[in-house]
């Protein structure tokens, strides 16, 4: 039930497989829902060369750990997993992975979406995009790149 913060590229599908085979009880869960947020190469019709994701390390970890714990109880999950990048991120690289394992599909879907919505609303990360015109902080009026 971990939340993992990474400053290097990761392969979400390999992470799901290895976590699942190490931590989940075979034959027990029936439903796995996952979400992967990937960096796009454009936003508001501007081409993005890369972005820098700043965060508040201790609070991010604390917030995501608590989110996993709450979600596991609320949705009666077998387990859940969050992986989130920080630092420099390039187009086509995964930014975030959320996964929920449950007996039934409704809980797995609800939980995976809850993890993402809560993370987007409250986890202390900030995106700065680098375009041909320079750098810009992503804010509420500039979020068409959001996943």
């Amino acid at each position: 039930m971990p939340a993992i913060l990474l400053d290097t590229i990761f392969n979400p599908w390999d992470e799901i497989q290895s976590y699942q085979s190490e931590k989940l009880q075979a034959g027990h869960y029936g439903a796995t829902t996952s979400f992967v947020g990937t960096m796009r190469d454009f936003n508001l019709d501007e081409s993005i060369s890369h972005m820098t994701l700043e965060h508040y390390p201790a609070m991010t970890q604390h917030f995501l750990d608590a989110l996993c714990e709450t979600s596991k109880k609320t949705f009666e999950l077998d387990d859940c997993l969050i992986i989130h990048r920080f630092g420099d991120i390039y187009p086509d690289e995964p930014i975030v992975l959320t996964v929920a394992w449950s007996a039934h599909r409704a809980q797995a879907f609800d939980a995976c979406r809850f993890l993402m919505e809560e993370l987007k609303k409250k986890a202390p990360f900030w995106k700065k995009e680098v375009t041909a015109k320079g750098e810009r902080w992503v804010h509420n009026d500039l979020r068409s790149n959001e996943k």
């Binding site: 508040y56 989130h84 930014i95 202390p124």
Partner: protein, 77 residues
């Protein structure tokens, strides 16, 4: 003891600092921490505040040794 103050993202750039220290006094709240460290700069409307990694309102009381953080709306995920 004292209060450790942290600023992030556009707020860090606006203020030109990432970290500051404020001395503790009885009855100190988050708003007062901002005023002590930011002087004449008004706190932007959408600023979020946290004490020891938990979101709080600007009128929340601070305890000696706390870490207080100020940051703009989050944009992760």
């Amino acid at each position: 003891m004292s209060i450790n103050v942290q600023f992030f993202a556009s707020l860090r750039e606006l203020l030109g600092k990432q970290q500051d220290t404020v001395s503790y006094s009885d009855g100190l709240d988050v708003n007062a921490v901002w005023q002590q460290t930011c002087n004449d700069t008004v706190m932007p409307d959408n600023t979020l505040c946290a004490i020891n990694m938990e979101y709080v309102k600007p009128d929340a009381k601070v305890s000696d040794g706390d870490e207080v953080a100020f940051f703009p709306p989050v944009t992760g995920g």
